[in-house]
């Protein structure tokens, strides 16, 4: 058994490729997750997607130029520079295009990034023999082929991105939250947008060779979105997103080991599964929470019936003509609303609290006045009694005041029981 556990969970860590993959993946996942919080809050997810694809021509040209200048040296620097230029070009041309003519921003994004991506494909295929970047690698990355250079690059990028976010936290937050106000206190909103764009480009460049272009977008968006479901505080959202990102990387790597599937794909698949789990289980905004809230709802009429039954003193649950399971649900809701005492309820007995008694008195009064009103309108006593059970739930104050006047302020109902005074429920 322990040998099996060892093989499944520990053995992978004895391989350098696994350790490097986990390390590089985690570093880039943390940077992506924290940055991703701003991306989803600013609703820039599509821009992130576009940016990552549009890097291709930049990477290609950067590689070609460096290759031509230094005959194969310094290609990493060339890739980085080319990617940054492509990212800026993408950002600037998107905002230009969406401000001229009648083209909306999402349309502009679609046009620009497919255009640039196509240019990249053309460059890569035309100069195939000079460039050793292949498209498959661009899409999938190679998490098991992480080199020391990749590690250093991702560590550097993560350090830069996290420092910028720490230093400019206030500015990034206010520009995202209320750009007009940010501009009015003199913050460069445009500049901050460009800064975000550059950071997206940086994590893309650092991450693409490890997890590929689609997965890098996933790491930007999904962990942050999951964290957004879990908390209402931005710093906590960033922390949670980082944890979720790393969790996706580690579980993804295990998964790819076990089922022998693509590393990049497995990582993002796990991230997606984590998101689904969060979507269902999130305490406040999850599906389960909404479902539980709805399930706990009980019809107000049932609740008022129980109030009226219990008005005259402690009642055994067994006595009440409601389905017992349903009654228990109603009783629990009444405990939450502080209408009945939880102590006696455990012994199968419903005892009203002060607040419960007051509300019960109001329902009782409503029942009795309705009954009186119906009889006065010519209904038989028996029919009136039945109908009052339904109509008592219409207990608007003004209606009761009218009935009270009509019946000349009765002190007792038709059966001679005292009618509780008005306003006894506050």
């Amino acid at each position: 058994m322990s040998a099996w556990l060892y093989n499944v969970f520990c053995e992978p860590w004895t391989h350098a490729y696994f350790v490097k993959g986990a390390l590089g993946g985690s570093i880039i996942a943390v940077a992506c997750a924290v940055l991703g919080c701003y991306i989803i809050l600013r609703k820039m997810a599509f821009i992130g997607d576009a940016m990552s694809h549009a890097l291709l021509p930049g990477v290609g040209i950067g590689y070609l130029v460096m290759n031509a200048l230094f005959a194969g040296g310094f290609t990493a620097g060339g890739l980085l520079l080319g990617a940054l230029i492509a990212a800026l070009l993408t950002s600037v041309s998107i905002s230009f295009l969406s401000n001229v003519g009648r083209i909306a921003e999402d349309t502009a994004i679609g046009i620009i990034y497919t255009g640039l991506f196509a240019a990249g494909v053309v460059i890569l295929t035309r100069f195939q023999q000079h460039i050793n970047i292949d498209l498959n690698h661009f899409f999938q990355g190679d998490i098991y082929g992480v080199s020391w250079a990749d590690l250093w690059l991702s560590a550097g990028v993560a350090a830069v991105v996290l420092s910028i976010i720490t230093i400019f936290y206030r500015h990034l937050t206010i520009v995202s939250f209320d750009p007009t106000m940010a501009a009015s206190i003199g913050l460069p909103t445009r500049g901050i947008h460009i800064l975000l764009t550059i950071m997206i480009a940086l994590v893309c460049v650092a991450g693409i060779s490890m997890v590929g272009v689609i997965m890098i977008v996933g790491l930007l968006i999904t962990p942050a979105a999951l964290a957004y479901m879990l908390t209402d505080r931005l710093p906590r959202m960033m922390g949670l997103a980082a944890v979720m990102g790393v969790l996706s990387v580690i579980t993804g790597l295990y998964f790819s080991e076990w089922v022998n599937a693509s590393g990049g794909g497995s990582i993002m698949f796990m991230g997606f599964l984590l998101f689904l789990v969060g979507l269902i289980l999130a305490p406040r905004y999850g599906l389960m929470a909404a479902w539980l809230r709805r399930r706990r709802l009980v019809p107000q009429a049932d609740l008022e019936d129980v109030l009226r039954w219990a008005y005259e003193g402690c009642r055994e649950i067994e006595e009440l003509p409601l389905d017992k399971r349903h009654l228990r649900k109603v009783a629990r809701q009444m405990v939450r609303e502080d209408l009945i005492d939880p102590g006696p309820l455990r012994k199968g007995c419903i005892l009203l609290t002060d607040k419960g008694s007051q509300e019960a008195a109001h329902i009782m009064r409503s029942h009795q006045l309705w009954e009186g009103h119906l009889i006065r309108s010519g209904m038989s006593a028996e029919a009136a009694h039945e109908a009052a059970h339904e109509l008592e739930h219409l207990h608007y104050r003004n209606v009761l005041v009218d009935f009270d006047a009509e019946l000349e302020h009765p002190a007792k109902d038709v059966d001679g029981k005292p009618i509780p005074p008005a306003g006894s429920d506050g």
Binding site: R170, F177, M181, S184, D232
Partner: protein, 254 residues
């Protein structure tokens, strides 16, 4: 009119023309708002009221004309202005608390490398007290009622301690108590000599709240003391006759 303040310039607009894409939203708007006055901007939906507010902050591209704040171009006057946005412009699910939002009012007072100090936190506390939102300080802003949300942004404007207040529909959807509270804050700002511009929709209260009123519908139809400006014929013209059905005639509903 205001002999005491007429000498000092507050906000001046000359021939301001603004368009989004090809659509002219403000046409040849000239206004002189003296320092220390409380001015209401009234007009139908889409009249360009929010656009005027944004142009005072230099947040919309001008086609033509100038906007000056205390005699300076708006670009140099940044930080003099506190702004309360219209409700619809805020993402209420943004993960910030009431205190976070009010603290944003202090950001303009600190350079980018300086952190928020005890003195700032003190001012945030005062501002929260002034709008009676202290007990909600740690709530996420989406978990408040509309009136409470409005008060949070008022508190942020107070915490900014700026000489000019621009409020975009601060009275929209608030109850009588909050309305009185906001009116009280306006009166307080006037006493401190602040220049206040308020986008407003209620003709009944306009005369009470404002020293001067602008009637706007792409152009300025009238500008002056409320009694002169809020005149049925003028209003009918600006609101395109729809007003006859509104509360102005004291019959029917808005």
């Amino acid at each position: 009119m205001d002999a005491a303040t007429a000498s000092s310039t507050g906000i001046t607009m000359e021939h301001l023309t603004v368009s989004y894409q090809t659509k002219a939203v403000l046409v040849d708007v000239s206004l002189d708002i003296p320092r220390g006055t409380v001015v209401g901007i009234l007009g139908p939906n889409g009249a360009g009221k929010s656009t005027i507010i944004k142009s005072i902050m230099g947040f919309v591209p001008r086609d033509y004309g100038t906007v000056r704040v205390f005699g300076q171009p708006v670009a140099d006057a940044r930080g003099l202005v506190a702004y309360v946005p219209q409700r619809g412009q805020i993402d209420w699910s943004f993960p910030v608390t009431v205190r976070d939002v009010v603290t944003m009012g202090r950001y303009g007072h600190r350079r980018w490398y300086q952190s928020i100090r005890g003195e700032d936190r003190e001012k945030v506390k005062h501002a929260l007290d002034a709008v009676r939102m202290t007990e909600f300080a740690d709530r996420q802003i989406g978990q408040l009622s509309g009136g409470q949300q409005q008060r949070v942004f008022m508190a942020r404007a107070l915490a900014q301690e700026s000489d000019i207040l621009l409020l975009d529909e601060p009275f929209a959807g608030v109850d009588a108590a909050t309305e009185r509270a906001i009116a009280g804050l306006l009166a307080g700002a006037r006493e401190e000599g602040k220049t206040v511009v308020v986008v407003h929709h209620d003709l009944e209260t306009a005369a009470e709240f404002f020293d001067r009123v602008v009637l706007l519908n792409r152009r300025v139809y009238a500008y002056g003391p409320p009694r002169e400006v809020l005149e049925p014929n003028l209003l009918a013209e600006v609101y395109g006759g729809t007003l006859r059905k509104m509360s102005w005639n004291e019959e029917g509903e808005a």
